[in-house]
Symmetry: C2
Subunit: 347 residues, 2 copies
DNA sequence: TTGTAGGCGTTATCAT
DNA sequence: ATGATAACGCCTACAA
């Protein structure tokens, strides 16, 4: 690999001259510049990014840390981050934070955070422990975290009001006449899920509907898990008349389980999701859900990061509201259904 | 930011001792090591990744360069790349290659490629010019490219047989009795699209079905474009009985257009997509499509990159086959339909 | 077992 | 306008 020195030698000029010429400094004469450029081309010279970063102490890159780069949920959020990052002339890289390697290596996300290989980070994954974030965040290395609650300098919290979202969704179900409502959710150690449950139970309580532990399920935030848990639920003796799924993906999985059992949604069972992913409106029946302002979340995370990077002060906590979107997967509860359900169980 | 020197000073040892201690070199005594670790913790020392990379001349990171990180199409491919990368103990970062910045800056992808900020790259975006790839690829910097055909050292081509895929899909449509088949595709300057058209026309020709330029449409590989082009197609006087969409997303967009016009798929119109994304089987009617082995593509790209990185020889070109998946969006052509269509046009 | 010192490839300061 | 040179922070012979 040719270095700047080689180019200098080849062009018969000093190293510094090459650096100036290649970086477009105006004090280099036209003749020298073209001589340098030619030599660089001839030697197939490419600047070494690390050396440059090391010297300059900044990269103009920010990292987006996800729990799994391949998830569909992030799609729209990434769009928001991407656009904003671009607007500000920064580069964006995404890395994941899962720990799957055999050698028990740290995840890429943690590595980037610890070694400060970027100018700042947006963390959307819960797989990064709070302490790592707290001691990575610095004056010149701000971090934006989604859906947490960390009180620390240079750490900016952006959250979605999952409690309110869970509350409204449940309230809607109750208003539709449902009193037997199951909650089929994601991992119990994630704040998102906890908050949605909190909202769920709050709504139940406020409307005098008893909470039934037998109808609370815990799994993963994906389709397969939604499918499996629904099958388990259906294997139980008595069924709810409505199900609140922890997210849309789980609801889609649930839908498949109902299809297989020939249970009609929403006539025999109302279901509601969470997130408002694209798929929710494309599937049939179109899914009633709680929309998170995903693009805005992404854009806001990036904006706040840049504000902080530029020394402007930013609110430590920002809470975004959700919106209930009523589609075709929910219906008002009509009493007769209860029987038909019991019937289909017994056969 | 504390450096290794500060830690050395604080711990009362030499710089090299700190380096050894922190990197787990066995020749450091236990006492010294813990002294060093404590000092590091106290000063909140973090190794500077760039300095380290600069010295070591390798990063154990590979870059995945996409045209747009937020696209749903890549989801499964990324999974494959991710798993394989992990298996090999490398880190993976994703960056995009679109040029949207105001200052006409190079895309992040190109920057990473040129400055070799990683140990190797997988390029899935057509926004990176061939020449950039050709002169970025080096002995110690292999590049795997998807769906191109570049003959150059250290450049590994992995392609999906889009011609065969397009051919089989079209053949199937013809076998179902269709003779009036439209092609609603993506950008005409992408190889994927060109190849699918080639396959399409080859099948037409081979079965003696005339090719109709009026039924060939060019747009973008996304839902909106599929929707719009379909509306345009429907605004034309005569309709085909089947449509071959350039990809599944476009077909989904088309489906919406049909729904709006109350045209029943597949009874009145057969449609077929390409790719085999998740959505294709979830939507109603479930989409007949040509499945690309997406996970395998991702995994293979990563594997080949590592082989090359480890000095093993790799085939310069690999061609992966597709598979036709017949679902509910296609039906055999029955003659009467032709009339009912003309009827619905006139009203 | 620990310390010294040179160098990775750039950039930026200061002379010339 | 150009050149010499000292950092940037880390790693690693080699010496002690």
């Amino acid at each position: 690999m040719a270095t700047i020195k080689d180019v200098a030698k080849h062009a018969g000029v000093a190293v510094s001259t090459v650096s100036y010429a290649l970086n477009g400094n105006s004090k280099i004469s036209k003749a020298t510049r073209s001589k340098v450029i030619e030599a660089a081309k001839y030697l197939n010279y490419k600047k070494n990014g690390f050396a440059s970063d090391l010297k300059k102490q900044s990269t103009y890159i920010i990292a987006l840390i996800l729990s799994d780069m391949s998830g569909p949920y992030y799609s729209e959020i990434i769009q928001g981050v991407q656009d904003t990052t671009n607007e500000h002339g920064y580069d964006l890289i995404a890395c994941n934070s899962f720990v799957g390697s055999p050698n028990n290596k740290e995840s890429t996300g943690i590595k980037f955070l610890k070694e400060q290989r970027v100018d700042g980070a947006i963390v959307m994954s819960h797989l990064i422990p709070d302490e790592v974030l707290i001691d990575a965040a610095q004056e010149n290395f701000p971090i934006v975290v989604l859906n947490r609650n960390i009180e620390s300098d240079h750490l900016i919290n952006i959250s979605v009001d999952n409690i309110q979202g869970g509350f409204n969704a449940t309230k809607y179900l109750i208003e539709q006449g449902h009193r037997d409502i199951a909650f089929v959710g994601g991992p119990s150690d994630t704040r998102d899920n906890q908050d949605r449950i909190t909202g769920f139970r709050k709504a139940l309580e406020m409307h005098g509907v008893p909470y039934q532990p037998k109808w609370q399920f815990t799994g993963q935030f994906n389709r397969t898990s939604g499918y499996r848990l629904t099958k388990i639920l259906l294997a139980q003796q008595d069924w709810p008349t409505a199900i609140f799924y922890g997210n849309d993906e789980m609801a889609v999985g649930g839908l498949k389980a109902f299809e297989e059992k020939n249970i009609r949604v929403p006539d025999e069972m109302s279901i509601i999701g969470f997130d408002g992913i694209d798929l929710a409106e494309l599937i049939r029946p179109a899914l009633t859900t709680t929309r998170q302002p995903k693009y805005e979340i992404g854009a806001l995370c990036a904006r706040f990061l840049f504000y902080s990077l530029h020394g402007e002060s930013v609110a430590q906590h920002t809470n975004l509201q959700t919106e209930l979107i009523i589609r075709q997967s929910t219906a008002t509860f009509k009493h007769e259904r209860s029987n038909s359900l019991t019937l289909s169980v017994s056969k």
